[in-house]
Symmetry: C2
């Protein structure tokens, strides 16, 4: 048994029926435990389970899965004990779902006269590398007497040039990032957490992402964003332990101590004016990015991974302004997804980039970089329409641990 | 060369750079032409190309792909010649994209001083079994002097019990159904058709679907809808030539003759009240569907594919009311997808089923079935919020043929 297995139980006929392919896939993952445990493997087979337990939460350095369902929640209960119990219940459900199990001990079902423990739409599906990552927003620290625990790094994000933020797509007391190679697995996970949280939390906003834009596996093909350009060529890789330690994980020397091994997540919904972009010349598109479109090579270079020569680019080129050398070394781990949410009232696709970036301290990561992008030539074609910041607590260590324990048991 | 290849051209360096993985994948598909041509293969590898040419349009009897981007367009030009040219341009673009090529002859690029011929985000992606299927809505026949060509079967759909239709998610002069195993490939296709149509057509509404709900390959695992139940167990299979002929394809004996080998498509956006459903007992859920949730077996039977005994089900059970035996044999080919479009203003997931059904005559297919579902117990948990009907013309026969030729060249 690997450490991401849940306690065994006597399978009923219903449980056997209900588990179907999921149980089979879990068996395979358990048998190939060495593979399943190796988070740094590049592009593991899509049916493997990602271990839920660890010093850090999965879903950050984990090789980026294909699909996203991200949800922000507001807390509606004012009962601290009830909220802590919800975090424990969510942890148990997350532990089961990431391993490919349905929620609940009784297969998906339970008693016929009660609602099923699991909503069922993922019963026959494989674990699909599902990760669930929880975060705590600034507004949570106004509740439950947590004000003194709020990290200094969990700032109120400043207003940036060009921001046009929709409050209904911003902020939140909590977030859950669900990533999986199968969208139905990610949607199922968020839905079941929402269901378990009924009466205690309510979804404030959510976002589906259909295509990863920034890989954390440099050996893999670099994905393209909806502007058609490769995105994330120089991203922090899940295997770069030193850069992760320096730029992503909160250290034990950082305050507060409950955040040790955690991180900070910036989420930005970036609408692209793709109809305008699509009528822009190839030369201008390449000037704006500072890379060529086909290969992704920096201006004047031949290959995607050649070292960029920033001064060869236009002063307002995106790559030039976002590069660590232009930002005193500031570096973030990007994990964004493309989105298309139908059409706006003017017949334009409501499409763009749901930007997700993890960093050790947002004051030394996203904030200075985004400020430097105020003169970015790309700004003519994009607009930030949603924004949120979350403190990402450390990982769940073992089957007795739970999401947020270091925060909530500190005062207990 | 297979018949879905486009004319060769001299590859420039940019073209070679730009094609990347797509070119490679096409090579593989061409080399394995026998596989790519066999539309009846079950679950072909996701990198194969589906032939664009044929008596029928692809995307109907084709094994259902994993993802959907569906778009309805309104025509804004009143110049018939311009519209016909657009149909020809769309056909050529569809021929290239379904084969895994970028739009345009010059790789993705073209001249640096002009907008690229292709938006680029699918450059490195495989064909992913992309199909593009066009349809003509009733309102198109009010334009271009087409009134007399309107099929009698292209009725104005009646109002059904419980309908709560949003005009902004209903109807349209044209539709394009893009299905692929990679959502970025489907989104890319719709976006490029919209781009090519700029100034002549405008997107009226669009819908992404992330999980197929009705398979047309009975050997494959039956997918589950967002209520957690298997959906489409008794669907028409892509291999059932006789049933397709009887229930799906317009015959040469049907009027009008330009529709021979075509079909009719009903699209309904069905919102599910999943939060309410999730609080319903397992017994009630199973009573409502008339199947058990785990295995999918009809009431009183052991296995999913056992013949249902309708009288064992409750009188208002969904399977009982939708069954051909309850509808004078009426049978439709379903090809729907689950959707989740974020959250409504009340913190509920905006989720459900985007129902797509193909049939030879909607008056003998969807309309009587949907009328019979007026007493469906499921209606407490669902609501139809969008609706459209389209005439699906026959397939494009060869590289000189184009979408809609049988309609538009008839009068020429």
């Amino acid at each position: 048994m690997t450490d991401n297995d849940t306690p065994s139980h006597s399978p009923s006929r219903r449980a056997l029926l209900g588990w179907g392919g999921a149980g089979l896939a879990l068996g395979a993952a358990a048998a190939g435990g060495a593979v399943a445990m190796a988070r740094t493997d590049d592009d593991p087979a899509p049916d493997t389970a990602i271990p839920f337990h660890g010093a850090h939460q999965a879903g950050i350095a984990t090789p980026v899965q294909d699909r996203l369902h991200f949800a922000a929640f507001d807390v509606t209960t004012d009962d601290r004990a009830e909220f802590v119990q919800l975090l424990k219940d969510w942890t148990e459900a997350a532990r089961r779902m990431t391993a490919g199990h349905p929620v609940g001990e009784g297969g998906f079902g339970g008693l016929p006269e009660a609602p099923p423990d699991d909503t069922g739409e993922a019963l026959d599906l494989k674990p699909s590398r599902l990760t669930l990552t929880i975060g705590f927003g600034p507004s949570l620290f106004e509740k439950f007497g947590l004000a003194e625990q709020r990290p200094d790094a969990l700032v109120d994000l400043p207003k940036f040039a060009g921001d046009n933020l929709d409050k209904n797509r911003s902020d939140g007391d909590l977030c859950v990032q669900a990533c999986a190679d199968d969208p139905q697995v990610a949607v199922h996970a968020v839905r079941n957490l929402a269901r378990i949280g009924f009466g205690k939390v309510v979804i404030r906003w959510s976002q589906l992402g259909f295509g990863k834009t920034s890989s954390t596996t440099p050996e893999a093909q670099t994905p393209r964003n909806l502007m058609g350009f490769k995105d994330g060529t120089r991203n922090i890789a899940g295997t770069e332990t030193d850069r992760l330690k320096k730029f992503v994980w909160v250290s034990e020397n950082d305050d507060p101590s409950w955040m040790t091994n955690g991180s900070y997540l910036v989420a930005r919904r970036i609408r692209m004016h793709i109809e305008t972009w699509d009528r822009t010349s190839l030369q201008e598109q390449e000037d704006i990015f500072g890379r060529d479109k086909g290969e992704g090579a920096p201006v004047g270079k031949a290959k995607e991974r050649d070292e960029p020569f920033l001064k060869a680019m236009k002063p307002d080129a995106h790559v030039r302004l976002a590069h660590p050398d232009a930002n005193h070394g500031a570096t973030i781990l990007r994990r964004g997804y493309s989105f298309t949410d139908g059409t706006d009232g003017l017949g334009r696709l409501d499409a763009g980039l749901f930007f997700l970036a993890y960093q050790r301290d947002v004051r030394e990561g996203f904030i200075p970089i985004q400020r430097n992008l105020a003169t970015d030539a790309l700004n003519e074609y994009i607009q930030h329409v949603g924004s949120a910041l979350f403190a990402i607590p450390p990982g769940v260590r073992d089957k007795d641990d739970w999401w947020g324990r270091t925060l909530f048991s500190k005062e207990a």
